[in-house]
Subunit: 323 residues, 2 copies
Amino acid sequence: MLSSKADDFAHKVRSCDQRGLARVLSMVENGHPLAPSILHSLYNPERSGLTIGITGPPGAGKSTLTNRLIMHYRRHGSKVGVIAVDPSSPFSGGALLGDRVRMQDHASDPEVFIRSMANRGHLGGLSGTTRDALEVLAAASFDPVLVETMGVGQAEVEIASLADITLLLLVPGLGDEVQTMKAGIMEIGDIIVLNKADRAGMEQLEMSVNASLELIPDQDDRPQVIRCSAQTGEGVEKLTDAIVSCASSGTWGKAIAQKRTTLILNGIIREKGRELARKLILDRYGSVEEAIESILEGKTTPYRIGEMLSGFLKNKRENKNEC
Amino acid sequence: MLSSKADDFAHKVRSCDQRGLARVLSMVENGHPLAPSILHSLYNPERSGLTIGITGPPGAGKSTLTNRLIMHYRRHGSKVGVIAVDPSSPFSGGALLGDRVRMQDHASDPEVFIRSMANRGHLGGLSGTTRDALEVLAAASFDPVLVETMGVGQAEVEIASLADITLLLLVPGLGDEVQTMKAGIMEIGDIIVLNKADRAGMEQLEMSVNASLELIPDQDDRPQVIRCSAQTGEGVEKLTDAIVSCASSGTWGKAIAQKRTTLILNGIIREKGRELARKLILDRYGSVEEAIESILEGKTTPYRIGEMLSGFLKNKRENKNEC
């Protein structure tokens, strides 16, 4: 019964019924009980649709580039999905966020689906929600699905990295980002996009990015660096070529189904594991807050609670045998 | 029997037996079965000893400042613990890391205990190990315990934030870090230290840091900004005063036992939860890799595995009733 309901929703997503799609995304976002079954029904690690993450410091031109990419892919007849993620905002759903006005150019185009997502404190967090929303839009045959994040904090980088390919945007004139982002650059970004190519300081930015990238020992692991101007569209073609070549190149292209699956499974292990541990603490103490109270009263310690959690599976196995 | 052994080790730590202490830190680092009992025995959320995290971009002078702080606290008769953490290195233990030569000034001082820690792939990770090592050194009455991280990536910031108070070091001339670290600055740092105060560009750096901090709506939440020169020692006294006033100020001082406990318990929920979820997957599939294989073969999906994990506690409760 439940599963046939889930199949109905999955069918609506696959046939790209706009209202059904919006409904399923809300279910994912709100942790609706049917959501896991719908996601199960939709999941295909070998889907051909590509997901592209876009991150970078405020002012780097992420929205402008997103808009430019939508235009590019629409011209090539693709259906484009966009998830705009703002970890610092509690608002989401249908409403477009502040500076996404330009995206409204596409609001009347049924082949462009734009959704904004925010932090609503749901278990699993924004990262889990975005990851699952990507799968839903890909299942509705949006290709590519773009994920644009609002800032470049820890949460934002993590979210952009959920996509198959991540673009890190940098611009001259915001200062020498590279010094401080050295560590970051090597962690994020399949492609580094130097935006606002006409601005003074581009040469210097490019040199300093390249110098940072030389710290990556294996040349094949170094991200490509592409100059463009999201404003004028110059270089965007080169960027989309780089995305295609990145997605199909060598081991990366072959391993993509495995990469996607590993990423999702690890996320689920993290979320469900935390849920399990919290439930066990609930069973014992009523709530995590009461457990903390117990510790502060000197009745137990976090380490004893940890041992209780570790011991749980052992006990459970013994109980099973007794049964 | 086990617990009396753990008590022996705890006693050695409390009486600051150097070899015992080193041994216990290795046990914590290697996930030795006795480690949780030792930590349980040592844990005191109301310990008076303070822990101080030091983070910042490469070249900001973290080692020099650490050295300066050691000298300062030694002059005041305190025993100082230092944990030097390098997330990118697999080497740890007794050996001092590359540029920590200056710390060897203190190598013969029994009241200074220096330990370097690195990523050894142990479950719970470097973050958990560092968190627990801080408690061990505090229990051995090192006060303060300094945690210095090597870079300013995600892992490093997370680790520095395990301490009671976090110092974020910035210097002029590494470019306008602030633009890109805006998000970061608001997340990290109880105190922002502008190091190399004699360098050109300090005024500009300070202005731009202050401009960033103005984005934090509540004035009381804004970190203090302190200029110093770790090289000459100028301003270090002002910094240590700021640390004291930060540690004892208002709600922060009162809430410290709760803050410590919450941080440790949340870490343990995360680590043990993941361990539980992985064990359940192991029971069913043999290994996480085999679970991924199953997904790629189309036999299941990550979402179905998630439902299995969620269902587990429910089943367990039903089993219990049957028993």
